[in-house]
């Protein structure tokens, strides 16, 4: 056993011993404080999953908590239900309310979502303060002691029940965060457009984030009802919601353990300042402001920031390795590459006609180039084909099957992958995780395995990781596997995005200006990569300004100008077309530059390669 593993086990044993012994060291009032703190920690874990991991602003967590507690209170005191039966119903009620609150997230995000969730939380408060069923502001007393193996009427033994539930909740949250579901959530948080383009079902995932958060809220509510045995509207106000929010922000919303630390610290401070609650409120408001400005990753982010300071930027020691796509070419289980047919596509943005009646085809396993001046509609066309835009009219088909109305996610699952002109990498994920998101082709239904067969999730995770590492090696970026993309030079980020697109195992690959910002040597490597991908049986559509690359790589080229197709044919035909010369070049004298002089290109790239090697040796 390694030293770190032994240390970890010793640490875990110490934590367990400490938690087991805690009740022996505190008085009855203190154990009550501890019990309430654990409930806040459970709420914070749920909120951290929705806000920090999935990026869904959720100001209704306190209402999920309230629904759980009130459902138990109403069912036990007014309908004679047993405590645990009521508890199960309460969690279900919270979940349903969570899905209702999450529903607007399908349409709106960010501040809109903040206000809608806050509004629904206030609607809940308004209901409990007014309804007869909830006895208004007086609240509901007399909730029975939960029957259990041991007596739960005192705070001491209740502590053990809570700590076990909390450990399970925390363990599940960490499991989610470190496996594919959490990775997809983080990808959605960092860039929901790129996430849907690699096959993440964003709407379902957003609902799921609210669903999970509401289950944590509901469970905490049930435990609260059993602990206090009295519920009143005062416990579920926006003020408590903001306290919860402060816990998550100060602890570090992107780290579940950080949320727990934040909850414990703020609960204890609140208790300590209970006689000065207004000053405490002033204090935690101020700390939230300071935290977002100076420590946006909260307490949990401090170790990483220190480590980053000591290690220095990887950019200073980065070089791009050549690629070796041998592993991919050998595979024979690939899908048959499809032919892409675009028929009469138009896309209008109010008055602006970005695309007008564009028709083109890309043959199976061929490289189709799309060129044209800036603003000619190239990227709009890619956005339509990848499902991000719905065309105003017209249709497109893969192998004869009309897929015009498919979403980006559905198209990704059908084998359409793409890169973006302005790089859309998941900024808070490592290079390996970026590739893993695309590599994971499981459906959202497979998430049920988290509850039903967790071991299957672990096995699938191991398989995905091994495959991701293979891809990173093939693309020559294995040494950056654990870096965040923003820390890497631009050329490597481009390569990462390409690796991510290929990881989705595409049949049709759409590349939007993949050579932009690359030096001569890198363009040469890109040419090899794209050629290799195509040879392995992938249809490629290449939008590019680098004419040397287009002319030497593409089998056919379509020229767009002002949203219309003005020429279509082999590179040689297109270059000779007078309309192309007119629209795209404007000046015939530059035409000579377009005809690929392969010898010159090869020489230039060799020179670049030599320089690159020398530079590497000098380092």
């Amino acid at each position: 056993m390694s030293r770190s593993a032994r240390l970890r086990i010793a640490g875990a044993a110490a934590v367990v011993a400490l938690l087991y012994g805690l009740p022996y060291a505190v008085d009855p009032y203190q154990i009550h404080v501890v019990d309430v703190t654990i409930l806040f920690a459970l709420l914070a874990v749920g909120l951290g999953l929705a806000m920090g991991i999935a990026g869904q602003i959720n100001l209704a967590q306190i209402a999920f908590f309230g629904i759980g507690a009130y459902t138990v209170a109403i069912l036990t005191t007014q309908h004679g239900w047993g405590f645990w039966a009521a508890g199960v119903a309460a969690v279900v009620a919270s979940l349903l309310f969570g899905l209702v609150v999450g529903f607007p997230a399908l349409r709106v995000q960010s501040h809109y979502l903040g206000i809608v969730t806050l509004g629904l939380a206030l609607a809940f408060t308004s209901w409990v303060t007014n309804a007869k069923m909830t006895f208004g502001a007086e609240g509901i007393p007399g909730i029975p002691v939960p029957p259990f193996l041991f007596d739960l009427s005192g705070g001491y033994l209740y502590y053990y029940l809570e700590i076990v539930v909390f450990a399970l909740g925390l363990g599940f949250a960490l499991f989610v965060v470190h496996t594919r579901l959490g990775r997809r959530m983080k990808a959605m948080r960092d860039d929901s457009i790129a996430a849907s383009a690699v096959g993440v079902n964003v709407p379902v995932l957003r609902l799921l984030a609210f669903g999970i958060a509401s289950v944590y809220g509901g469970v905490a509510g049930v435990l609260y009802a059993g602990l206090i045995r009295y519920v009143a509207p005062d416990s579920f106000t926006p003020a408590t919601m903001f306290l919860l929010l402060a816990m998550v922000i100060i602890g570090g919303r992107q780290s579940i353990l950080g949320c727990v630390v934040g909850a414990v610290v703020l609960s204890l401070i609140r208790e300590w300042l209970i006689d000065f609650s207004t000053y405490a409120q002033l204090g935690y408001g101020a700390v939230v402001v300071l935290a977002v400005v100076f420590a946006p990753t909260g307490l949990a982010g401090i170790p990483r920031r220190i480590a980053a300071l000591r290690r220095g930027r990887p950019a200073e020691r980065a070089t791009l390795r050549p690629v070796d796509l041998g592993g991919r070419l050998a595979r024979d289980d690939r899908r048959r590459p499809p032919a892409l047919e675009v028929r009469g596509i138009s896309k209008h943005f109010r008055g602006l006609k970005a695309l007008q009646d564009v028709t083109l085809t890309a043959g199976a396993a061929r490289i189709k180039g799309i060129v044209g001046p800036n603003g000619s509609g190239k990227t709009t066309l890619l956005n339509v084909i990848s499902g991000l835009y719905t065309p105003t009219s017209g249709s497109f088909a893969l192998d004869g099957e009309d897929v015009t109305s498919s979403t980006a996610t559905a198209l990704s699952q059908r084998g359409v992958a793409r890169t973006f002109q302005n790089l859309r990498l998941f900024t808070e994920l490592t290079v390996r995780q970026n590739v893993l998101v695309a590599l994971d082709r499981s459906s959202m239904w497979a998430s049920a395995a988290y509850v039903v067969r967790p071991q299957a999730v672990v096995r699938a995770e191991r398989r995905l990781r091994a495959r991701a590492d293979e891809i990173l090696v093939e693309f020559g970026i294995a040494e950056y596997a654990d870096e965040r993309p923003a820390a890497l030079p631009y050329g490597i980020q481009r390569r990462v995005e390409l690796a991510r697109a290929v990881a989705a195992d595409p049949a049709l690959l759409l590349l939007d200006e993949p050579a932009a910002g690359l030096n001569g040597q890198e363009v040469g490597q890109l040419r090899e990569i794209v050629r290799g991908i195509c040879d392995s049986g992938v249809t490629v559509v290449l939008v590019e300004h680098n004419m040397g690359l287009v002319m030497s790589l593409c089998d056919e080229v379509t020229v767009l100008s002002g949203g219309r197709v003005i020429a279509d044919g082999t590179p040689a035909e297109v270059v000779a077309d007078p309309e192309v010369i007119e629209a795209y070049l404007g000046d015939v004298s530059q035409l000579a530059d377009l005809v690929p002089d392969t010898v010159a290109i090869a020489e230039a790239e060799r020179a670049d390669a030599v320089r690159g090697d020398q530079a590497e040796e000098l380092l």
Partner: protein, 289 residues
């Protein structure tokens, strides 16, 4: 019919307050893309400040409000300055930062003015106007007139003055604005200060209509925000229409559903947002993605 009209007019006066709150939200949003979640609390601080200068210092009502406008304007400058490092980087963090400011302001208000709150007497003691059997509070008419004047002044400022045009330019394209020599930070600060000033105007005017206490900010803020979104966020005319609409919905809901009125307002609002996320007149956003 009589009752309906009476409710409608009551709703319009309240709606004018919401519209002023919404205007402050929208001005900051269109200029810098930030939703100021502390705006409601700034309204509340404005209401308290105005009431103090009116009731305790015994200044005339209008001057008390003017003092409050200056005080909250400074407050706006402070909030903007503290959060400026996040400008254009992370909207969600800025949003949470403004929530932090809101929590602080509410605590400060309790420390300074106490937790109980106060009623503000109306500055106008004439009998209600009687138009065809409808009784209209003179003060309601004053509120509507002041709100209309403030809106016109704001529009004139944005369209006719150099500073206003500069702010519009920042709203459209901060980089291009910088390139032609506009100080983006200063423009944002001015937007924040004017927004906060409008908040004090709304708060000061709300004093005689509503009970002033520390939690006033929460309810006025969220309804003003709902109004801004309903009209189309960042849209000046939308803020006015949205504010009046929320006021009327609020007033009818209060009559029909009594205690449940807040619930009804928020549920109706949520449904409207689901149906049409960009509001009635469409969003005027700063697209800085």
């Amino acid at each position: 019919m009589q009752v309906t009209l009476q409710t409608l007019i009551g709703g319009l006066a309240l709606g004018a307050i919401y519209a002023l709150v919404a205007l402050g939200f929208s001005l900051v949003y269109r200029t810098m893309g930030l939703v100021n979640f502390a705006h409601g609390q700034v309204v509340m601080v404005g209401a308290f400040t105005a009431s103090t200068f009116y009731l305790t210092v015994k200044l005339p009502f209008g001057i008390a409000i003017a003092v409050a406008v200056v005080v909250t304007g400074l407050l706006g400058l402070i909030i903007e300055r503290v959060l400026r490092p996040l400008e254009g980087r992370d909207f969600d963090l800025m949003l949470i930062g403004t929530i932090g400011f809101g929590v602080m302001l509410e605590a400060l208000a309790i420390i300074v003015w106490g937790a109980t709150g106060r009623a503000v007497r109306s500055p106008i003691n004439t009998a209600p106007l009687d138009i065809g059997g409808l009784k209209i509070r003179t003060y309601s008419v004053v509120v509507l007139a002041v709100a209309a004047a403030a809106t016109l002044a704001l529009v004139a400022f944005l369209q006719r003055t150099k500073l206003g045009s500069a702010m519009q330019a920042v709203a459209m394209d901060p980089e291009a604005a910088t390139a032609v020599g506009i100080h983006v930070g200063r423009s944002n600060a001015i937007a924040f200060a004017i927004g906060a000033g409008l908040a004090a105007l709304a708060g000061g005017l709300a004093g005689p209509l509503l009970y002033v206490n520390a939690s006033l900010g929460g309810s006025l803020g969220i309804k003003g925000f709902a109004a801004a979104i309903l009209g189309g966020f960042g849209n000046i005319q939308g803020a006015i229409i949205g504010g009046l609409a929320i006021g009327v919905i609020d007033s009818f809901a209060a009559g029909r559903f009594e205690g449940y009125s807040e619930l009804v307002v928020f549920v109706v609002f949520t449904v409207l947002i689901m149906v049409r996320p960009t509001g009635i007149f469409g969003e005027r956003t700063v697209n800085r993605a």
